[in-house]
């Protein structure tokens, strides 16, 4: 099976970090900037940092939205990271309302700063948080988290979080001051994580490695 991974290069995010981690996980990454390279990829990885609107606008301006949609429809493995997860959803409320790719039903909202305990917490959320298995999901078998131990730690840095409409799309959750939110999703051939596997130590590399063998 090919271990080539096309990392979408649209000038957003630290692509080299992602590429190095994919290499360390045993893959062969290359940067894909043209619609053609995206469409032809065996596996596609969509990173992203910064603002949702900026990411989606940049993808649109570079003519990459259609190729991503057709790749997604083609059934090959796809992994979104951070804002690359968020833009799979219908819309986001970050800096006004922005439409996403609409590949997974749901919207992206600000992390609630008010905890269950009534205290206010700092946003952006920066740091490590354990990956929790949603109650409705029996196991992580057959997903990017197959080799991941429940409660494994991952590194996050974000202010917004995706809220899937369908519980079945939720692969992992995290605790945000007493509120449970999705931290990874899976929908057919699409996998995505809010955390940064490329910055989550050996546990993160194991997730990338599993993506390479999906």
């Amino acid at each position: 099976m090919s271990r080539n991974v096309a990392i979408i290069d649209y000038g957003v995010g630290n692509l080299l970090s992602v590429a190095r981690a994919v290499t360390a996980a045993g893959g062969s990454p290359f940067l894909a900037c043209s619609p053609d390279e995206v469409a032809k990829a065996d596996r596609l990885l969509l990173p992203g940092v910064g603002a949702f609107g900026h990411c989606i606008d940049t993808l649109t301006a570079r003519g990459l939205v259609e190729p991503i949609l057709s790749f997604a429809a083609g059934g090959r493995p796809f992994l979104g990271i951070c804002v690359g997860m968020q833009i799979l959803f219908d819309e986001s409320t970050e800096f006004g309302l922005h439409r996403g790719l609409g590949l997974i039903a749901g919207r992206v909202e600000r992390i609630p700063a008010e905890g269950r305990d009534g205290r206010y917490y700092k946003i952006p959320y920066v740091g490590w948080n354990p990956l929790l298995r949603p109650t409705g999901r029996e196991s992580w078998r057959g997903t990017v988290l197959e080799d991941t131990r429940e409660g494994s730690w991952a590194y996050f840095t974000h202010s917004y979080v995706a809220v899937p409409v369908n519980d079945a799309d939720c692969l992992a959750e995290g605790d945000y001051f007493g509120h449970r939110r999705a931290t990874a999703v899976v929908h057919e051939n699409l996998s995505a994580c809010q955390f940064h596997p490329e910055k989550s130590g050996p546990a993160g590399l194991a997730i990338l490695s599993r993506f390479l063998s999906l």
Partner: protein, 253 residues
């Protein structure tokens, strides 16, 4: 809430990891890449490299160290020292940094904060503050490793930088740095209680109790550890277990 991050801070001069007291009287310790690797294997949450001569001599020798580290170490990497422009930041990010820490150039031109936050996102823009106490409850921001005064009040400067887009603050107490006498808890509290972004307390950690104090009383979101780790006074796993027994929420890798 996110667990208190344990961050190894490595000050760099040329190819060497160095350590001083009050950011002066520097001693050579070793090859920073080897230390970074060891800390990664011991489960450090994040790493900081600060090129401590870059802003004096107008150069940045860090790139090679950053590149090597980023190929082997898969936790976030904050890099600072001599970042003067969006281009400098981009070079460090391209070498493998995840966040850039800026002090001198941000004070000289606060717009740089905005430019970097716009281009790479706020999560990438760490404001580095070198603080010296003037009177109890008052601190002044310094540049060039605590040598140059700026006249800026630390708390006001932190607020202004957050408005411009800084996403995190690396707050170094020049008074405590390298002394092992404990963090400046009042300084950390003064900043962390008024800014909405995470604050990394830096300077003075001599024991795990110091860490508990700056987290519980100073509201630090992360602690930078240098001296204690570099001289192997205590290893990271021991810091973690001691932190847990003191009731701190830390990652358990």
């Amino acid at each position: 809430m996110p667990r208190t991050r344990l961050i190894a801070r490595m000050d760099i001069k040329g190819p060497n990891l160095i350590k001083g007291i009050n950011l002066e009287g520097l001693r050579k310790i070793g090859d920073p890449r080897e230390f970074a690797q060891r800390y990664y294997e011991q489960g450090v949450d994040e790493l900081i490299y600060i090129d401590i001569v870059a802003s004096l001599y107008g150069r940045n020798s860090l790139t090679d160290i950053v590149r090597h580290t980023a190929e082997h170490v898969f936790v976030p990497l904050i890099v600072g020292g001599g970042v003067r422009s969006v281009r400098d930041a981009e070079d460090l990010l391209n070498a493998g940094a995840d966040k850039v820490a800026i002090n001198t150039a941000a004070i000289a031109s606060p717009k740089l904060i905005q430019a970097i936050a716009r281009q790479f996102g706020s999560q990438c823009m760490v404001l580095s503050i070198e603080a010296k106490q003037i009177t109890p409850g008052k601190w002044e921001a310094y540049t060039d490793n605590g040598r140059e005064r700026t006249g800026l009040d630390v708390v006001n400067w932190a607020r202004q930088a957050i408005d411009l887009g800084a996403g995190e603050i690396l707050l170094t107490s020049v008074d405590r740095e390298g002394t092992r006498k404990g963090f400046d808890v009042a300084l950390t509290h003064a900043v962390s209680s008024v800014v909405p972004v995470p604050v990394i307390a830096s300077g003075g950690m001599g024991s795990v109790e110091h860490m508990a104090q700056v987290v519980n009383e100073g509201l630090a979101d992360a602690v930078a550890i240098a001296d204690m780790l570099h001289y192997s006074r205590i290893e990271l796993p021991d810091i973690r277990s001691a932190a847990v027994s003191l009731g701190l929420e830390v990652r358990k890798p």
